[in-house]
């Protein structure tokens, strides 16, 4: 069991390292280096930078060094919590993305919780009442959920809300709370606004989990031990919930590891449509402005948090699933 945790942890560390390399490549990709972009932005605001000053800046940022050394320096900066400057804001990247990163995770995690809360009972219902009207209805909604990319669903709901209910359904806070300090009332307001993005983000995943749960449970229900349990006179709910559902949960739980990155990924584009104050809109503006330090840091942070989330869900999985503990 310890070996398993260590193996998972090592994999997480390697993944984080791979993400840092990718991020570094992304930062380096656009033509011209950070200094020339920075100077351009200075010049467009009217200040002049001499050639000598530019060279001095390059030396200061180590841009005259070979790639590997630049990477090492950049990593060093990162480890000290220095993520560079965001050009358009002229502020440290750290200050800009802090809150937004937290909100991104809040949105993603609520989507996953909602997915579980819906998929589990609906999956059980669809299997136990196979081919009932409810089963067909959920299957149909499920297929739609898979077929409508989440940003389109967001667009449609925005349109419907705006046109027929005359309300704006975007954002994560009501106007009066937007710049207010954190309080219980603000958290409650956030909770209300979270439902819609969570539904939009979770729908596709929920649909898939319902299908998995239904198929697994149907397999289990046909097994002889279920018949035995019934024959012994156990109550029907107990027959189903106590054994087959537990057995069917296994693959259900093991998909969470891949589901988390998927939801985080989706939250970026859904946030853009719904105007949520997550890192999504920030990432887009940073990329369009070629502000690569900001964009790179966002990609890096999202990657690290995702890896961390996956690691935690692995630990939870191990706690739920005894067979996993035996492995490794």
């Amino acid at each position: 069991m310890l070996a398993y945790i260590i193996r998972r942890f090592l994999l997480a560390v390697i993944t984080v390292w791979a993400i840092t390399v990718l991020t570094f490549v992304i930062i380096q990709l656009p033509p011209g280096d950070f200094v020339s972009i920075y100077i351009n932005s200075l010049q467009s605001s009217g200040s002049q930078v001499s050639f000598g000053q530019a060279e001095a800046m390059r030396a200061q940022y180590g841009l005259d060094q070979p790639m590997t050394i630049q990477y090492a320096r950049w990593m060093g900066m990162m480890l000290q919590g220095d993520f560079g400057m965001a050009l358009a804001w002229n502020k440290p990247v750290k200050e800009i993305i802090g809150d937004r990163l937290v909100l991104t995770m809040v949105v993603s995690i609520s989507a996953i919780m909602l997915t579980w809360m819906i998929a589990l009972p609906v999956g059980i219902y669809s299997a136990v009442r196979q081919y009932s009207f409810g089963d067909y209805a959920f299957t149909f909604i499920g297929f739609l959920g898979i077929a409508i990319p989440n940003f389109m669903l967001a667009l449609i709901l925005m349109y419907v809300g705006y046109k027929y209910f005359n309300m704006s359904i975007g954002g994560l806070f009501s106007p009066e709370f937007e710049n207010a300090p954190w309080s219980l009332a603000k958290a409650g307001d956030l909770g209300k606004h979270l439902i819609l993005p969570a539904v939009i983000l979770g729908l596709a995943g929920t649909a898939q989990l319902i299908r998995i749960m239904r198929a697994n449970l149907l397999d289990e229900l046909r097994k002889p031990y279920v018949v035995t349990a019934r024959a012994k006179g156990l109550a029907e709910t107990r027959v189903i919930l106590k054994y087959p559902v537990r057995a069917a949960l296994n693959p259900f739980a093991s998909t969470v590891g891949y589901y988390f990155p998927y939801v985080v990924s989706g939250s970026i584009i859904v946030s853009l449509v719904l105007g949520l104050p997550t890192v999504g809109p920030l990432l887009l503006t940073a990329l369009v402005a070629q502000d690569m330090f900001l964009a790179g840091t966002i990609v890096l942070m999202l990657g690290i948090l995702t890896v961390f989330g996956t690691f935690v869900s692995d630990l939870i999985l191990m706690w739920i699933e005894p067979r996993m503990r035996m492995e490794g």
Binding site: P261, S265, V288
Partner: protein, 370 residues
């Protein structure tokens, strides 16, 4: 069972049927999958015939016709079947300054099928035939089946061109993914051991990174001065570099399962070369699984391209794709005034649904002995 045998005759038919016949019989029973297959074929046919199905030049800009609502064809004229469209007059609302269009019943333009319209090239020859055309006026000025965008370009015609780009980016991307997936999955599953572990870890790493931010960053890094075609290929490659992992997983799984089969051992004992075992004996038996996985992968690719282009980081105008078209509908206020801009969502949903049904049916049929 593949099919229900009703007589000894039918039973005999099953026992001598080839694998592909069994699969076909099983697939045929899948009603939704059949519908899906037909729709997919129709969509790809439409994509091939984009110029013919369009009736206006997709790049034709006319500010006087901006944000025009869909304007349908009248099929019956004075009790006879004679399709025509009414002319339109554009004016400005004196209060809101919005452009409003009023139907002018005095002007009728007959619709003809296989008529003449804008010019396009077919195998190097210039042709001007279109499925629908208008007589008496250029189609660009009177026919707007799905309305127009902010620049007055006809949405129907642009949708036809966008369908081609979006569907073929899916196909092209899948080919690259398929190559990578079968190669890596095949190596992984056939050799096993440390190579397998390494490839599996790489796949795990790729899958644990959120894809959209990564795609966005790579898409944004493409040089602005690149031509439409260069961007097209670059985006295809970016998408497929991440999407191959699922196909590799399927391939590896099949290889692992097949390695233990008796007939593979028999082939080994008979002295077949490795290449012959892989391509003559193993690949045919899991080809169907790969085809099913590929169908589902095309849907994922189409979503990826649409998402990226929608954000403005994928294909860029003047390229036309579903995502590019949907970019116009990004803003709720714009949508509230001109809801037809969101129409390209419908083909996206229909094709993804169809590909999913088709893929599911193929996956069930892929294992006719199961």
């Amino acid at each position: 069972m593949a099919t229900q045998p009703t007589s000894p005759d039918a039973e005999e038919r099953i026992s001598v049927a080839t694998q592909w016949q069994l699969m076909w019989w099983r697939f045929r029973k899948h009603a939704l999958a059949k519908v899906g297959a037909i729709i997919v074929i129709l969509f790809y046919t439409a994509a091939l015939l984009a110029e013919f199905l369009a009736y206006s030049d997709p790049g034709f800009v006319e500010a006087q016709r901006s944000l025009l609502p869909p304007h349908g064809i009248q099929w019956i004229d004075e009790g006879k079947f004679a399709p025509f469209v009414y002319g339109l007059k554009g004016t400005r609302d004196p209060q809101t300054f919005k452009r409003v269009y009023v139907v002018d019943p005095t002007q009728k333009y007959p619709i003809v099928f296989f008529g003449e319209g804008f010019e396009w090239t077919l195998f190097g020859r210039t042709v001007n035939r279109h499925l629908i055309a208008v007589e008496g006026a250029p189609a660009e000025e009177v026919l707007f089946l799905l309305g127009t965008d902010t620049l007055g370009r006809d949405l129907w015609s642009r949708l036809m061109y966008g369908t081609r780009v979006s569907l073929f980016i899916g196909l092209l991307g899948v080919m690259i993914s398929l190559f990578l997936g079968i190669l890596m999955g095949g190596i992984s599953g056939y050799y096993g051991g440390p190579i397998d572990t390494l490839i599996q870890r790489v796949i795990e790493i790729i899958r644990s990174i959120p894809t959209i931010p990564l795609w966005m960053a790579l898409g944004a890094a493409l040089p602005r001065e690149w031509s439409v075609n260069q961007v097209y290929f670059a985006i295809t490659i970016i998408i497929s570099l991440i999407a191959w992992t699922e196909l590799a997983r399927v391939t590896r799984g099949r290889f692992l399962a097949l390695r233990e089969e008796d007939y593979v051992m028999a082939a080994e004992l008979a002295g077949c070369s490795q290449m012959r075992i892989i391509f003559r004996h193993m690949v045919p038996s899991f080809l169907s699984h790969i085809i099913a996985a590929t169908t589902l992968a095309i849907a994922a690719m189409i979503i990826a391209e649409t998402s990226l282009s929608f954000l403005g980081l994928g294909l860029r105008p003047p390229a036309i794709s579903w995502g590019v078209l949907l970019q116009d509908g990004q803003n709720v206020q714009a949508l509230a005034i001109s809801p037809w801009l969101i129409f390209p969502i419908i083909p996206v949903v229909v094709i993804i649904l169809s590909l999913n049904f088709l893929g599911d049916g193929l996956r069930d049929a892929a294992d006719p002995y199961g």
